[in-house]
Symmetry: C2
Subunit: 372 residues, 2 copies
């Protein structure tokens, strides 16, 4: 079987690491032939994942296609699907998710709990919604890794807002953030991973560290899983999805966003779960049984992020110190160049003791720096 | 850093899967461009690993070189070493190990317990050693996967013996077979994996299944580790080594053979240990700290072997049934063609309960068949 991946970043890289456990011929398309995934596939194709012809011609080479980023040409995927190529997830699901307005409307239509929102077409319109503040302003398309998202605390922040199609979401009084990964195969069978609990860096707005399974009361645990499962069932698409959730001060669970692909919040599943998110997506695409989502041990993820103030050839300070730790798994994404905030790798920690997990996560954050 | 691997089989494949956790440029040389490892490296070079020029020219491209099979051109490696290329393990160690006569002499010289032996130059000489029977006759060079090994029970079996440089080893009264993996870095620091306990198929003479950590009394456990460590220290070479050991009826520990590379007996370390044997070899070559060899959970390995009577395009019967099992990890090596006895993949099972491990191993052996 021939399977193509649109995008050649670290998610593609880890997907290809997992692919080598199966008999499958792999294709990757990305504009940069030195991207993290380029050398791990059978066939690398240089091309623009947002360009109709590039995506269409690439898709015609394979039996099944998946994505490692949402910003792909959906029209080409729709045409490929109509011609019998299997797309994971379906173009209809990508279409809903890649546009943040459509995504919010989807939650609303399906009565999936998600914060109130209004659609704005330009920055001035924000002034019509002062009663909505504090709120989060999100560009409808093209946001990634904290870009395209602005917090509008009050009317003095309106000038930070986006001057284009955007969605303004009422801010949830967040107590916790969870992420739940859900897998669905062609038969509609599903598998749900234990929720992961996330802690964000307030400056970079990037994931700081995460522990899994989340330490939340059982009722929140099940509520989160049930809502995540509903999102995927309502998207009516096979594939692997990450659902980011907020828990508010009243223990209500709200959907923040969904990613229709393997996700940063599932990196720990490589070592910490019986079936990793990457393995799971291969099982779906290769028509095998879904895997076991149970955790072998509790885990934490620390992201390795390009240090503020450093751009250029990446150098890893403290890497050897981290590699000396007894229960850590280092993943570097093979990116030659660092810049502030760039995701350069991650470290997974396994420990049955949560206090120890958090302690190790902090130690790693202090030790490991990406300089130039 | 540029690292080359001589050989492109499944060991190379798994080594390359692990390489993608680091920043390293990878090279593979093998005669077959469709070999299991060919598509997972940055640079694939078609060449003969036994040919001086091929190995030398390949080695000149990289900073460090390793092997995934012993039958390589050692003279080329010696020249490369003299020119500053780092070789893991050292050519001097490969030279000792790849020749079974020299290997036995090495054990003898270093007072490493290993069964008595005599060297034979042709089949007729076996008749001078009737007092040695039952014994194992091994070709000095070129044996692999049970080929080049014959059991000579008594004088009526002499005609099965090899008519060339060989070693005749007195048969040990085997109670158990263990394998211990030992890592040594450039500084001479070592790390020892818990012994694995092996069960062989008496017909194919191939590993049937294995459990790890071995269930043996503590004194055998430590004796096995101490002897394995001595082998590697006496070889005076950095690298990763697998030492196969016999335990006899009197609980004495004997070295059977050593492999100077990642090894079939260490496949389980991918999921079952904090640092896999593959990760460990990268740490050594990239000058990082040695990893933690502890087991996360007890494990078993079942080899997926080409079924007797079937040659041609491989078909996996029962694969989906095995993938449904809760605690198994399937690794297929991507070989298109099967033949009787060919190593096509392996399955690792994790379970804290040894009885359950063995039960699952048997279930997998019954379920999973490689047909054509």
């Amino acid at each position: 079987m021939k399977v193509g991946i649109l995008g050649g970043g670290q998610l593609g890289r880890m997907l290809l690491q997992a692919s080598a456990n199966y008999v499958v011929e792999t294709y990757v398309m990305e504009n940069d032939k030195h991207c993290p995934a380029a050398h791990l596939c059978h066939h690398f194709v240089k091309g623009d994942i947002q360009n109709f012809d590039d995506v269409y011609n690439f898709g015609k080479k394979v039996d099944a296609l998946t994505i490692e980023i949402e910003s792909v040409n959906v029209e080409a995927l729709e045409k490929l699907e109509s011609e019998g190529i299997k797309i994971y997830p379906k173009p209809s699901a990508i279409k809903i998710i890649k546009n943040k307005i459509r995504q919010k409307e989807f939650y609303q239509q399906h009565q999936i709990p998600s914060s109130d929102f209004v659609v704005t077409q330009n920055q001035n319109e924000l002034d019509d919604h002062h009663h909505f503040f504090p709120a989060v302003h999100k560009l409808a398309e093209g946001g990634y890794d904290g870009k395209g998202v602005q917090i509008i605390k009050d009317k003095t922040h309106v000038s930070k807002g986006f001057d284009g199609h955007s969605v303004l979401e009422k801010m949830v009084n967040i107590k916790k953030e969870l992420a739940v990964i859900v897998a669905m195969n062609d038969k509609g069978e599903t598998a749900v991973y234990p929720p992961a609990e996330m802690v964000f860096d307030p400056v970079l707005n990037l994931l700081d560290y995460q522990v899994s399974p989340a330490q939340v009361p059982e009722k929140i645990y099940w509520r989160a899983e049930a809502i995540a499962l509903k999102v995927v069932k309502d998207l009516e698409s096979p594939g692997l999805f990450a659902i980011e959730l907020f828990i508010d001060e009243d223990d209500a669970v709200w959907v923040n966003e969904t990613a229709p692909r393997v996700h940063n919040s599932g990196h720990h599943t490589i070592e910490a779960n019986y079936c990793s998110q990457y393995d799971m997506l291969w099982r779906i695409m290769l028509q095998f049984a879904l895997g076991n989502t149970n955790a072998i041990l509790p885990s934490a993820i620390v992201n390795i992020i390009g240090e503020e103030g450093y751009s250029g050839n990446a150098k890893y300070e403290g890497l050897n110190e981290v590699l000396k730790m007894e229960n850590v798994f280092v993943h570097l994404y093979g990116k030659a160049q660092t810049k502030p905030g760039r995701k350069m790798g991650h470290v997974t920690i396994l420990d049955k003791d949560y206090t120890q997990l958090v302690r190790s996560a902090h130690a790693i954050k202090k030790l490991l720096k990406v300089m130039a």
